[in-house]
Symmetry: none
Subunit: 209 residues, 2 copies
Amino acid sequence: MSITPKQKVYQGVLQEIRLFIEKNGLTSGDKLPSERELADTLQKGRSSVREALRAMELLGLIETRQGEGTFLSTYRQFHTVELLASFILRENHTRQDLILAKKILEKEAAKLASSGIACADIDELSAIIREKAGSPEQRHTAFFHLLFYRIDNLLLAKVWQLMEEFSGAVGSLYYEEAFYRELLKLYTSGEYLGIEELYEKQGHYKCKK
Amino acid sequence: MSITPKQKVYQGVLQEIRLFIEKNGLTSGDKLPSERELADTLQKGRSSVREALRAMELLGLIETRQGEGTFLSTYRQFHTVELLASFILRENHTRQDLILAKKILEKEAAKLASSGIACADIDELSAIIREKAGSPEQRHTAFFHLLFYRIDNLLLAKVWQLMEEFSGAVGSLYYEEAFYRELLKLYTSGEYLGIEELYEKQGHYKCKK
DNA sequence: TGTCCATGGTGGTCAGACCACCCTTTAATT
DNA sequence: AATTAAAGGGTGGTCTGACCACCATGGACA
């Protein structure tokens, strides 16, 4: 048991569990030793083992099923980041903070996506902004959802998604229709360098509360 | 106590703590009620309260100090970040996501800060990059910490800080010394438009693991 | 005024009790 | 023999209580 002097027992237990998982090549769905077994093996109290397990459970790393045992979860990438971000976003930020932060992410995603944008993507984006069945907010969400997942940076996508969800509480944040069309024009013509300028001129949320 | 049938006690406790924090407008450094008090107030066992607190602690949301109490964290302790990172940063792809996301935030902060940068700020930034007592990583953190708090967007600052903390676990990410100096030159000469170009040319982390 | 000690509070850890649930084995019934 | 029901042993879930180490405060004493 690798316990450093300042370390709490549950942290040492966490480390041992992590080592156990690695050593035994455990993967999603595999079963961990029982709480009592871990407590015995590690010579620690069962409560301390449970504290470690609860921490892991909140992180989404494990699932505990009463009567059955403790199992490794399907790994959800960035679940922890989501958790942390959700705490951060719940703090009392100003509306301006959220607006600016979200716009930055959207602008950078628009630029990053441009290098890998395909005709099919442009068609799909075009279909999104032309869709009249939903609201402008929904179109905005769908539009940037596609862009974020096109750039294949899950971290950015998740942070943006959380901001998008929280922005619903401070008023719907979307751009003028002309903005999306202009952005598509830049994509179509390959003038990706104009995106920063587009954001300077038209990158303002049509704020409706 | 809002406990749904399928929900474990520690999860309900977590929610109540979260609500308490929001309701009372608690912020970093503020003290939470004692374990015994929470157990009493929520009519749950102290162990269950501890399970919730351990989960929060692993996320770096709180710090518990023996003899003193439980406090909302200002920064995640290094050891906590290490533990967390060992669970969440498992793949190169994840690391790449983090690196890119962090750079985006830093670039945008550098640009946003430029409009309100004062001589005293430039002096302070200059002092930071000239400081030889610490490591390049520490200088990088201090440098951008100042920038993020200059733009007075707490949300961005906190999101970046989270990324900065985790990036320590994937290898130290900082720029060549010339980058910081060049950025300061741009600030000094007021050529803020050159920042995007600077990032194109020199905005690459000097990755050392 | 400064130092020391006692008190009351804090978190830290563990043992134990008992409950609900699950799966396997054994026994009873058809 | 096949099916169903009950028992047994294990799992996690929750709580209580005991005791420890540490901290801050207040009172007593020099």
